[in-house]
Symmetry: C2
Subunit: 222 residues, 2 copies
């Protein structure tokens, strides 16, 4: 009895994700699903990213959290529109929640939609939301073993960010080992080391260029 | 059809948790379930804790991770016995996994069993494993908004640790706000600020005393 129920839930999620994807593509909106553990710096990354793209890209954000509207409040000043999804006790966003959020977003006025998923390295990985790419995020303070301990997110993502590089002088973190383990799990995956609090630094500029190129390639495809 | 399936799963978990609890109490083993996000410092805390208790308490550990045996390997040198539970893609430990782990632990030779749950602030909260107490752990690098954004773990735990205090000079973290929000969610909850890398510091000594007192009170109860 149990397996068919789970199958239906995931199948239904994938169907809604495909419909979200079709709606976003029809509006020429590139969509990033940003995944990472709690406190790895997702919202700070997006604040700085949106500020940098202020005169260049029209960005909407959709933020998942169990409770509070803090992240959406922080991002609202920089985004065309920010939508908060409160999941209650649920540990990830699903396609239906994003579908609801899309009704609050002016898709015709956006170039880019960034979905900041619930802070969790595990559960959000398996849920297609209708995004074009998944970006995974670790931070230096979490320790150099996190890629090996969370292989699913490494294999699932299209770009990996390693945040909080500014704290490197105060931490023990084997960057070579981390990089090797990411490469073993997902050969060829681009890994960008950056600090969300240093948006003028080279690492952050690499991230901005990656987003810029991705949005442009999507615009060409459609 | 769906609700009864979920009900049965949770009811079955609770029955097995009660059986684990009875087995641990019969052997006079106090049991702590340690919960926190990925990279908040759970394993480093336990390494230092076990080293401090080396000549005082006989401690077993049971460690949950998606993949690798790294945490158990790190703890094995300090513990009477360390058991790793690899959950694959599953985001939390359940009572049945702990039941299996108990068969690998010499309960008669233990005073304390510490279960280091999978790094996740959300999913492990709802699962009773048979523990006596749940200890929740945040770290300074995760940001001062994490208690408000993860209320379930704050209300569920019997002690809250705030780790990585050694990094305070390099971070922006409003300790008053964090403390207020913890207090609002769980009035009277003890909050200990410490650094797992400074086990001789006052905060760490408070933590050791809390464990010592809890183990002793349990020994008196049985």
């Amino acid at each position: 009895m149990k397996v068919p129920v789970v199958d239906n839930v995931l199948k239904l999620n994938d169907e809604i994700a495909q419909s979200n994807r079709a709606m976003l593509r029809a509006s020429h909106v590139f969509c990033i699903d940003l995944l990472g553990g709690p406190g790895c710096g997702k919202t700070t990354l997006l604040e700085a990213t949106l500020a940098k793209f202020a005169n260049e890209l029209r960005v909407g954000v959709c933020v998942g959290d169990l409770a509070t509207t803090r992240d959406a409040d922080r991002l609202d000043r920089h985004a065309v529109q920010a939508v908060q999804i409160n999941t209650g006790r649920s540990c990830h966003l699903d396609a239906n929640q994003v579908k609801q959020a899309l009704t609050h977003l002016p898709l015709a006025d956006l170039d880019l939609l960034i979905i900041e998923n619930v802070g969790n390295l595990i559960c959000p990985v398996g849920f297609d939301l209708g995004q074009d790419v998944k970006v995974g995020m670790f931070s230096l303070t979490e320790g150099d073993d996190k890629a090996a301990k969370h292989p699913s997110i490494v294999t699932a993502c299209d770009l990996m960010l390693l945040n909080k590089m500014d704290l490197a002088p105060h931490l023990t973190f084997d960057r070579e080992q981390f990089r090797d383990e990411v490469g073993r799990l997902h050969p060829g995956l681009r890994l960008i080391e950056l600090s969300s609090t240093d948006p003028n630094d080279a690492g952050f500029v690499h991230w901005l260029n990656w987003v810029r190129t991705a949005v442009q390639s999507q615009a060409t495809l459609v």
